[in-house]
């Protein structure tokens, strides 16, 4: 049960993509389910209600309230995540891709508890852990109650996926 349900926060950066091989490897130690989550920060989601956007239909329904460019942006993120998640499914790991609005720490802690997650993974850059910028990552580690696997990527190797 220690690694059965894994929360995999994804932010479209290579640093978070670098966590994927670790989750795939954990299948051998009992990982059966991955929740790949993109958190829509307040600056991005504006007036979206707190909902779990886990299919294209839900995202497309936002067209009535949000502008076209924003909705298309979300669809692009969702499709990219689905594409990345394919490898989990191919390896027999059940996968859920979902976009949720909220603050990073609160949203991830809420999600982890709701879905009884066993392990939270965090793909971060070395720079984000520097003495001046460690705050955000620490807030997440503090907020969740589950074990946290922190995988670091050198800043120069990071970038958009």
């Amino acid at each position: 049960m220690l690694f059965e349900k894994v929360l995999y926060p994804f932010d479209m950066r290579k640093a978070s993509l670098n966590v994927k091989p670790y989750i795939l490897k954990l299948k051998e130690a009992g990982c059966r389910e991955v929740h790949m989550v993109y958190v829509l920060l307040p600056s991005e989601w504006g007036l979206i209600t707190k909902e779990e956007f886990d299919c294209e239909e839900k995202i497309e329904a936002l067209r009535s309230a949000m502008n076209e460019g924003f909705v298309m942006g979300l669809l692009k993120i969702f499709r990219k995540m689905k594409e990345i998640a394919k490898e989990f499914e191919e390896n027999g790991i059940k996968t859920r891709v979902v976009l949720i609005p909220g603050e990073l720490d609160e949203a991830l802690a809420w999600y982890a508890n709701k879905y009884q997650i066993n392990l939270v993974t965090l793909g971060v850059t070395s720079e984000s852990l520097s003495i001046f910028r460690v705050g955000k990552i620490l807030e997440i580690i503090k907020a969740v109650t589950q074990p946290v696997l922190v995988v670091k990527t050198p800043e120069e190797e990071d970038g958009e996926v």
Partner: protein
């Protein structure tokens, strides 16, 4: 891929560290073959050079006051007990008892042993006060070159 082949298990012998040990054992199923068990002391009666290896540097042990010798023997016994537990799981085990700054020595051993992962418990108190005071787990996360698995205290 040998992502978990060699892990470092940092222990302060607390109940939380025992929980973290369960994760170390479980990782064998994901390819773990070798575990480096580390405990760091920073509270001896005498000051020693940073990074002193209290198991391998026998001459240092001899100059310690009796109270420290007893303390060190007790810690080595605890490390050997963990070694036995992990060996029973079929893992290759190496133990370290270092003197000095705790996170600095954990990371130093991780570098020397080229481990793939560090596993350790994180006490909530340390995490909450981190921004002002720093803590073992956050310093290890910050300084380690390899991934770190932090096991948190559940009752919080």
């Amino acid at each position: 891929m040998p992502l978990f082949r060699k892990t470092l298990y940092a222990t302060d012998f607390s109940p939380l560290a025992e929980v973290a040990l369960d994760y170390v054992k479980k990782l064998k199923e994901a390819g773990e073959e070798e575990v480096v068990v580390v405990h760091v002391v920073d509270d001896l009666e005498v000051e020693l050079p940073e990074g002193t290896d209290l198991i391998r540097e026998k001459e240092v042990f001899k100059i310690l006051p009796e109270v420290d010798q007893e303390y060190v023997i007790n810690l080595i016994e605890k490390l050997n007990a963990i070694k036995e537990i992990l060996e029973d799981e079929g893992l290759k085990v190496k133990i370290y008892l270092r003197y000095g700054n705790i996170p600095k020595q954990i990371v130093a051993v991780a570098d020397e042993e080229r481990v793939k992962l560090i596993v350790m418990g994180a006490h909530g108190k340390g995490l909450l006060s981190e921004l002002l005071l720093g803590s073992v787990s956050t310093d290890v996360i910050r300084e380690a070159k390899c991934p770190v698995l932090i096991v948190k205290r559940r009752e919080e």
